[in-house]
């Protein structure tokens, strides 16, 4: 098990976002990687691409399935975590830290208000 950081916001599709100033760092949750199993491939968008709220951010592929990643926020991709393309297993080890996926320049910072808190997310996955 892992802890779910209080300063993140979460989606019901199991992504997280951490806001620093006007930038949001996005990843998938511990629960998501645990359900997916061993992750073997990560497909990320290009820097400079624009993404809509709940729009596709790419996909993660495990031995079980390929799953879409949905963006918790809208904005422009300013950085991607290139290391994941050669070391996708990092997503299984540290999904809330080192294995973040993308950084997004927020187009509408208020969007995060509708996302789940750490406590709400944990009760959501507990009830799922």
């Amino acid at each position: 098990m892992s802890t779910y950081p209080e300063n993140f916001r979460y989606t019901k599709e199991h992504e997280w976002v951490r806001v620093d100033g006007d930038t949001g760092t996005v990843g998938i949750t511990w629960h998501a990687q645990n359900e997916l199993g061993d992750i073997v491939y990560v497909d990320l968008p290009k820097v400079g691409a624009h993404v809509a709220e709940r729009g596709s951010l790419g996909s993660v592929e495990s031995v079980k399935a390929v799953s879409d990643i949905y963006s918790p926020v809208s904005g422009e991709i300013v950085e991607i975590n290139d290391e994941l393309t050669t070391a996708p297993e990092k997503l299984n080890h540290d999904p809330h830290g080192e294995a973040w996926l993308v950084k997004i320049k927020l187009a509408a910072p208020d969007e995060i208000k509708s996302l789940l808190s750490a406590a709400d997310y944990q009760s959501y996955i507990g009830a799922e």
Binding site: E35, D38, V40, Y41, E61, V63, K64, A65, V66, S67, P88, E89
Partner: protein
């Protein structure tokens, strides 16, 4: 008690590359009776330098290699093949007899129409039978497989909507769909929107109504769906789509539950594909090729791929004059040999026979469900159709997941069921026995599943480390996917040659570690 045993009679098989020695050959050509050409000159320099280490073996080595490998295989002719959502059904031998008829097996697509009347009649008759079975107005036999049929169907939808003035933007896909459905929608230029299933495992009709608007071109639905549940509100679903000018596409992968009982054309479907290699017993999997016939309602008929069969003066003709057609989707006329087999299956059964097959398929799935439901958690309480879906919820408490159970099933001499699909079921075990399985085989399978459930209670390690009785132990799927080795590399000579006398039989080392309860 051991009721089922497996033994590999073969030796551990080297690759052809490894048994190759230069200069050996498995063929003899007659002496050249035309002037020798220089290939490099004839091909304008487009020749390939000698392929390094291309295998060279004698005929008997080649025959033994592939024959031995074939004995490692599992096939529907050896036992139950319970892969769900795929209908891996027995291929009746009558299909093969008919397909090998000289005039059919050797027919050439460039034969003139006058010499192809029999083949054309077969295709016309198959189109007619499939239209009757599905309750649709017309059928194309061109698509070469299910996903190809989906693409053809979606292009037809786009063509019809474009002719009405707006191709629209989105295709709705339930979260239980085959992955090919959203892929098809994306390939044909549509956005995909997911629709959630409800607690009964059915499409949420209200969620669908909310998602519905004039941007939606179509819904792609599978019925029965991939949890083996019949979408009983399909007529309402179709009405919601039609009210807004959208179409309903049905993925026919699970048609084995409906043939002779219910017709998609009667419950509001506008376009669908049939997997002839699933429902109509033509070879499947590596044996293939497939055939993904597409059936449509009348309004889509002008857009069908050409050429179309046309009857004139008591003769069949190919009609190429199809100005509104989406164009060819395949060379020639589809996988003809497969079409012959499908028609042979339909005609050998007749209407009553097909209906009986459907009822037996549903009966067999429900028989297995009843037998193993005390040991595995059924995913949805709704009645099962031709397949039943469980989750690994009971077993995962002991740390054993669906993939582990599947691997252990191999030790019991069965091909695994479908693992981890559909994705909406946590740790899915999806089982589809099909109609041909006798009660003894179903009992044997259920016994194996129940034994494995017991093993998990008593000694989960045996399941976690399975399979134990196969030629190779559990393969490392993760490393294979993360760091695939895609080309054979010649090992150093010293690593290839065993020392004289350095040979051990394999079997004693692999004596099965079965617990007493299953001996």
């Amino acid at each position: 008690m051991i009721k089922k045993t497996r033994q590999h009679i073969s030796q551990n098989e080297s690759l052809l590359f490894e048994i190759s020695s230069p200069g050996k050959m498995g063929y003899q050509l007659p002496e050249l009776d035309v002037p020798m050409m220089d290939p490099a000159e004839a091909l304008g320099g487009n020749t390939r330098a000698e392929i390094e280490d291309f295998p060279e073996v004698s005929e008997v080595e080649l025959i033994r290699h592939f024959t031995r490998l074939s004995t490692w295989n599992y096939a529907i002719d050896l036992g139950l093949y319970p892969l769900g959502s795929c209908t891996m059904k027995y291929n009746p031998r009558i299909n093969e007899v008919v397909a090998r008829t000289e005039g059919l097996a050797w027919a050439h697509p460039y034969q003139p129409e006058s010499l192809s009347q029999g083949a054309m009649e077969i295709m016309a008759e198959l189109e007619r039978c499939l239209a009757v079975i599905t309750g649709m107005d017309a059928v194309t036999l061109q698509p070469a497989a299910g996903a190809h049929g989906e693409m053809t169907g979606t292009l037809l939808i786009r063509a019809l909507l474009t002719s009405r003035g707006n191709p629209r933007k989105k295709i709705l896909v339930p979260d239980s769909a085959h992955g090919t459905n959203p892929a098809t929608a994306a390939m044909t230029g549509y956005e995909v929107e997911n629709i959630k299933s409800n607690e009964q495992g059915m499409l949420d009709v209200e969620a669908l109504a909310r998602a519905m608007n004039e941007d939606v071109a179509a819904l792609m639905v599978t019925n029965p769906n991939t949890v083996g549940v019949f979408e009983q509100y399909i007529h309402k679903i179709a009405a919601i789509m039609h009210d807004k000018g959208a179409l309903v596409y049905m993925d026919g992968a699970n048609m084995n539950a409906l043939v002779g009982i219910a017709r998609p054309g009667d419950f509001g479907i506008d376009v669908m594909h049939l997997n002839l290699h699933k429902t109509f017993s033509t070879p499947h999997g590596g044996g293939g090729p497939g055939a993904g016939a597409v059936a449509i309602k009348k309004e889509l008929e002008p857009f069908l791929p050409g050429p179309r069969l046309r009857r004139e003066n008591n003769q069949w003709h190919w009609d190429y004059d199809r100005p509104r057609s989406i164009g060819r989707v395949r060379s020639f006329y589809g996988n003809f040999g497969v079409l012959v087999r499908a028609l042979a299956y339909i005609m050998a059964h007749g209407g009553e026979g097909l209906k009986n097959a459907t009822m037996d398929a549903v009966l067999n799935a429900n028989y297995i469900r009843k037998l193993i439901e005390p040991y595995y958690k059924i995913a949805y309480q709704a009645p099962s159709m031709h397949e039943c879906v469980f989750s690994d919820d009971y077993q995962s408490k002991k740390g054993v997941r669906t993939g582990d159970i599947a691997k252990r099933l191999i030790d019991y001499g069965f091909h695994p069921y479908t693992v981890s699909f559909p994705l909406i079921v946590h740790g899915a075990l999806m089982i589809e026995p099909t109609e041909t399985e006798p009660k003894q085989e179903l009992d044997l399978f259920a016994d194996a599943m129940i034994s494995i459930a017991r093993e998990i209670e008593e000694n989960p390690a045996i399941v976690l480390n399975a399979p134990h009785l196969t030629r190779t132990p559990r393969v490392d799927e993760v490393t294979a996917a993360r760091k695939p080795i895609l080309r054979w590399k010649k090992p150093a000579e010293s690593q290839v040659r065993a020392k004289p006398g350095d040979l051990r039989p394999d079997v004693p080392a692999r004596e099965p570690a079965l617990p007493a309860s299953v001996r």
